[in-house]
């Protein structure tokens, strides 16, 4: 059965992507994409429910599988993809009106959007680390032309850097996979399953710790690059800054988590195989470094999409830091934060996409008085800013507070103090620029309107979810996360 489920899940976006390549009608492209993302999301929901019920979802040969951890990430990814596809419709329509996008580009967009989703799903359901790698590399390839979408000088530059850095990174990750495979070859009975995570984790404590350490280092650099951990984050501001707003949103809310997920699989494996402290220490160091390095770029910034990119670096740092703390509470916080961050990032990228369209600029100095020009988006934006910077009553506060609590409880006092300091400082940058953009009077007359009602309602719903997560975590969610935590604990 699971073979069927998985092939449906993978096939839907892949086929829609291929279909989009041959279609011309705008409405058809939109409808197909909307249909595929919505169905994928529903599929992810159903599969998650199945996982939660304890159904084993693994294909007979063990190539693909789904557990609570991957189901959780998948839910976030497919949900984000659905929101993004709804938003994309209005966004691109307006860009067509503004003559920024023509029919050919539109086709490319929807095709790649679907393929992008397909590649991310491939990573998530891969049990075989080789497929996981293939999926990861494919995400880069699928998004390369999306980053270069507008074919401006800057977007080509960004895409070049993006592809080169991520390819190097993912190459290093492949070496990590090879080393893991190497260490497992003599332990796992069948060579064909030696790359399967399920069989690896079963024999983890027999694996050679030295090789695994080396493997983890390469995986950390490799998947860390994809996730945007400092100092491998450098492609992020460029790529996020140049890609169309919905794509940036999907990268920040989906792709990042997919990369983190891959990294996490290695983390779990290494934690089981290697004496305590190795991988967690590295996670804490890299997490903190990513958080700290984002600070100056957020305090002094001129471009709001780059601002968000650095915020993404910061939050990846937070998540990695939290995993590095190594206690169940910290894992809980980290997984919760993955969700919260994805929600908040979607809100910010999408509302700022509307700002971008209205003002035709992503330079923050040129944007002011958004509340008067695009009141709904601006309201959602300012709320989103408070949400992402960890203000109650929004979910990010809960997850960040859980993380510092875990940090203090785990005795990591100093890193936790740095954490608190960084989060507080980053808020300064955010609120400064957000106030500048949202409030006041517009510098000039702006005739462009706000985004379409559907996407605004959807963003509003995201804000509402963030708010609800800030005051209460529903029990199904905490069950879900707890099951995922159990997997992370190994």
């Amino acid at each position: 059965m699971s073979t069927l489920y998985f092939s449906l899940l993978l096939g839907l976006p892949l086929l829609s992507g291929i279909l989009c390549a041959f279609l011309k009608r705008r409405t058809l492209l939109e409808a197909i994409t909307l249909f595929s993302t919505a169905l994928t999301f529903v599929g992810a929901l159903l599969l998650s429910a199945a996982v939660l019920r304890g159904t084993s979802l693994i294909t007979p040969k063990g190539w693909f599988f789904l557990d609570a951890l991957s189901a959780y990430i998948m839910l976030i990814v497919t949900g984000s993809a659905f929101v993004v596809s709804v938003y994309s419709i209005g966004y691109l329509r307006r860009q067509i009106v503004n003559r920024k996008v023509d029919a050919k580009m539109l086709r490319l967009y929807y095709m790649l959007l679907n393929i992008f989703l397909f590649t991310m799903l491939l990573v998530l359901i891969s049990n075989n680390l080789g497929f996981l790698w293939i999926g990861s590399e494919s995400t880069t390839l699928a998004t390369a032309f999306l980053v270069a979408y507008y074919e401006r000088e800057s977007s080509i530059e960004a895409a070049w850097k993006y592809v080169i850095i991520c390819s190097v990174g993912i190459g290093l990750a492949l070496f990590g996979i090879i080393l893991t495979y190497f260490s497992a070859l003599h332990v796992v009975s069948s060579q064909s399953t030696a790359l399967n995570w399920t069989s690896l984790i079963a024999v983890a404590n027999q694996l050679n710790p030295d090789i695994l350490k080396l493997a983890f280092v390469f995986a950390l650099v490799g998947f860390g690059t994809k996730a945007g951990l400092a100092p491998m984050h450098t492609w992020k501001p460029d790529a996020y800054g140049e890609a169309p707003a919905p794509i940036s949103a999907l990268m920040a809310a989906g792709l990042v988590n997919v990369a983190l997920y891959s990294l996490l699989r290695f983390y779990i494996l290494v934690n089981k195989a290697v004496a305590v402290g190795f991988a967690p220490t590295l996670f804490v160091i890299f997490g903190l470094l990513s958080m700290v390095i984002a600070v100056p770029f957020i305090l002094v910034q001129r471009d709001f999409k780059r601002l968000l990119a650095y915020s993404s670096v910061e939050h990846v740092g937070i998540i990695v830091f939290a995993f590095g703390l190594g206690t169940p509470l910290a894992y809980f916080g980290a997984l919760l934060h993955i969700l919260n961050n994805a929600l908040a990032k979607l809100v910010l990228f999408l509302t700022l996409g509307n700002v971008r369209l209205a003002y035709d600029s992503k330079i923050m100095r040129r944007v002011s008085g958004a509340i008067k020009v695009i009141p709904v988006s601006a309201t959602l934006l300012i709320v989103g800013v408070f949400a992402i910077t960890g203000w109650p009553p929004f979910g990010v506060f809960v997850s960040e507070f859980t993380i510092v609590t875990a940090g203090f409880a785990a005795g990591n006092i100093f890193p936790s103090l740095v954490f608190i300091g960084v989060v507080a400082t980053i808020f300064v940058g955010f609120i400064y620029y957000a106030t500048q953009m949202v409030f006041g009077e517009p510098h000039r007359r702006i005739d462009e309107g706000d985004g379409d009602a559907f996407s605004l309602i959807l963003i509003g719903a995201l804000v509402a979810i963030l708010f609800l997560l800030g005051i209460a975590i529903p029990s199904f969610l905490s069950n879900f996360i707890r099951q995922a935590v159990a997997i992370v604990q190994g």
């Binding site: 850095i165 491998m232 450098t234 590295l282 109650p392 009553p393 203090f408």
Partner: protein
């Protein structure tokens, strides 16, 4: 059926429900909540404005009255209300705990909240058709709600959530008139400062929770004895900074004079009157409830901060001629006075002298209430002045006593009260503070013995300067001749704005004349925090307050009032006896030989404060610039421009260098994003190599 717990329970739900109802309903009636401009389109929109106003502020009034009831029921019966909320977050169950300390602060908040809500009916009319009124209603109610829950939260996580919610709502309230650059800047400064403060609070709670293994206040209380003293000290400083920023003590005060004037006046009244007190609440909660007793030097540190706040607050206030900024600076001063009581109480507590600590704490807490009353009154008065004249610059005012007789009378009462003049409430609490400080001579420790007289001296200085400042504020604003056409054509505000001011003025008098009854309400608080030594302050017949420890130094405001009135009548009688009926004749005053007295001939606010500026020139570093343009001959000046600038030491020597330092550092570090692909690859390369070395 209606026993006390269930009444309290109902009051709590009414408190929360009232605010929430307003928050939920008010925006619904605003037909276009997101429309670009809320232009009033005929009747329907006018009606919806009225509905929003009446319903929104009416609900707030109801909620705050039930808050007041809840507070009073706890304080008078002594039975605390404890509620466990359902556990929804991963930090244990959130709880509400209305103990006497919480009840007192809830009472203060609710009392001022109720009065200001009535004022807001009238005041918000100012914004009708111009701004989004339902937004104001929502924020206003959210502000009151979060503030109320801050003081009754029984759990650190709930506390932090509502604490930040409070900051958030005030951010939007300060930014309510966001078209003005000053408002935006003030809002940013405020939220940045308060957020940094919260970071310290989070650290503090986490340190407390480290030993308590729970975020419940009760567990903090129980486990504080196990805390090592170094951690305790850390907690002390975290609380001092975290709560200090919110209450605006020097040197964390810089946000306050920017933020309070920017907010709508009804909100300023609440911010200045009660919001900054939540910081005081926090300090009292941590120092007296969680960590008590701490070492004496904590008290001295608090005292030092208090003294600095009081003196610098009033000195900066004297240099202001923006009415609301002036009041804001006075809030800094009064927070200082409150903290003097708190600091002295901490000192006494560390020596185990609970009776003295009780006196000092009562002094501080009493001033909390008093300041809420008179500062609320003054801000409401300022709001009326601003809405009547559309200017906050007192150099453009004058002569309002004839245009706004009621407002000016109420403002005068507020001014007298804040200047601590008998028989008003400010006097009583300042009197208690003096007494508390003087009791310090019972402590034999040398550092205390040096600290106390200095605190006394500077408190005395503060009181005198405050009087000077309010002579200026009242005199220049309300007396003399109008200095601009704004002031000339001002009108008395509607009754809904006057009545609240009247109520507060009456409260100022009442609290000044009958301190005894108030102190009996405060007694449960001090008993709760310091144990059962309620006899530290004796309340004798006719409301006389006596402190046994100070050799029965006492004061009886009620009798004093009676005598004052009687003796004020005496000259009337004497006059009648000596000279018969008073003959009066009005005449123009001498105008130095000119035809008539011109408004421009009056003393200005700047001129008024010049002697003080000279006396304290070391603090102000004033620089002025005079520009004279002459017409035909040097004897006939055409125009004279005088510009004066006083230096704000903290901004100039601390905050500004820090800001520019951080920005410079950020700009420096930003260079790592070179744009060079190779350097990016190099980072990866170096990271990989370092990791390989680490992994070996």
């Amino acid at each position: 059926m209606l026993d006390l717990p269930s009444l309290q329970f109902m009051a709590f739900h009414l408190l929360v429900g009232g605010y929430v109802l307003a928050i939920l309903i008010a925006p619904l009636r605003d037909r276009k909540p997101f429309s670009r401009t809320n232009t009033s389109e005929g009747n329907t929109s006018q009606q919806s404005f009225l509905f929003v106003r009446y319903f929104g502020f009416g609900a707030a009034l109801l909620a705050s009255l039930s808050g007041l009831f809840l507070s009073m029921s706890v304080l008078t019966t002594g039975s605390a209300l404890h509620l466990d909320l359902q556990q929804t977050l991963p930090f244990g169950s959130l709880s509400i705990n209305v103990d006497p300390l919480a009840a007192f602060f809830l009472g203060v908040i609710s009392l001022l909240g109720a009065v200001v809500s009535v004022y807001s009916f009238g005041y918000s009319g100012e914004y009708a058709g111009r701004k989004n009124l339902s937004l104001l209603v929502v924020l206003y109610n959210l502000f009151l709600l979060s503030m109320s829950i801050v003081v009754i939260a029984g759990n650190a996580v709930l506390f932090l959530i509502v604490w930040e919610l409070m900051s958030l709502t005030t951010f939007f309230l300060i930014n309510y008139e966001h078209e003005q650059r000053a408002s935006r800047k003030a809002a940013i400064l405020y939220i940045v400062m308060t957020h940094i403060g919260t970071a310290f609070l989070i650290v503090m709670f986490l340190l407390l929770a480290g030993t308590a293994h729970s975020f419940d206040f009760q567990s903090f209380r129980n486990s504080s004895a196990q805390l090592p003293s170094s951690i305790k000290t850390l907690i002390f400083f975290c609380a001092l900074i975290g709560f200090g920023i919110k209450s605006g003590v020097v040197p964390f005060h810089i946000w306050l004079p920017e933020a309070h004037p920017a907010a709508p006046s009804n909100v300023s009244a609440l911010m200045s009157g009660v919001m900054i007190k939540t910081g005081i609440y926090g300090m009292v909660r941590v120092y007296f409830d969680f960590l008590a007793p701490g070492p004496a030097w904590w008290g001295i540190v608090v005292l030092a901060v208090a003294v600095a706040s009081a003196v610098l607050g009033v000195l900066y206030a004297l240099m202001e001629h923006d009415l609301k900024r002036l009041l804001a600076f006075h809030s800094i001063e009064n927070i200082g006075i409150i903290l003097m009581g708190v600091g002295a109480a901490m000192i006494f507590m560390s020596y185990g002298n609970m009776p003295l600590a009780t006196v000092a704490l009562i002094a501080g807490l009493y001033h909390v209430l008093n300041h809420a009353m008179f500062k609320g009154l003054l801000f409401l008065g300022a709001g009326s002045v601003v809405s009547a004249t559309h200017t906050r610059n007192i150099e453009e005012l004058g002569g309002l006593v004839k245009k706004l007789p009621w407002t000016s009378a109420f403002f005068l009462i507020g001014a007298l009260a804040i200047s601590a003049l008998p028989p008003l409430n400010g006097f009583v609490s300042e009197w208690l503070t003096f007494q508390a400080l003087l009791l310090g001579f019972n402590i034999s420790d040398l550092s205390v013995r040096v600290a106390i007289p200095i605190a006394v001296a500077l408190l005395a200085l503060t009181g005198a300067l405050a009087a000077a400042c309010f002579v200026k504020a009242f005199g220049i604003t309300f007396l003399g001749l109008p200095r601009s056409s704004h002031a000339e054509h001002a009108h008395e505000p509607p009754r809904s704005m006057l009545v609240p001011m009247g109520v507060l003025a009456f409260a100022c008098i009442l609290l000044g004349v009958f301190p005894g009854s108030m102190i009996s309400i405060l007694t449960p608080v001090t008993t709760f925090l310091l144990g059962g030594s309620a006899s530290a302050l004796e309340v004798l017949n006719l409301g006389s307050l006596t402190i046994p420890q100070s050799g029965a130094g006492g004061v009886s405001p009620l009798t004093l009032v009676i005598f004052l009135v009687a003796l004020t009548v005496l000259p009337l009688v004497l006059g009648l006896l000596l000279g018969g009926k008073l003959q009066k004749r009005a005449a123009m005053v001498w105008a130095c030989g000119l035809e008539k007295v011109e408004p421009r001939m009056q003393y200005t606010a700047t001129g008024f404060s010049k002697p003080i500026r000279m006396i304290f020139s070391n603090i102000f570093h004033a620089t002025h610039e005079i520009e004279i343009s002459e017409a035909a001959s040097p004897f006939f000046k055409q125009q004279l421009r005088y510009e004066l600038e006083t230096e704000s030491v903290f901004e100039k020597y601390f905050y500004e260098p820090m800001r520019s330092g951080v920005v410079a550092a950020a700009k420096f570090i930003r260079r790592i994003q070179t744009g060079h692909l190779q350097s990016y690859l190099l980072y990866m390369f170096i990271a990989l190599i370092l990791l390989l070395m680490f992994a070996r």
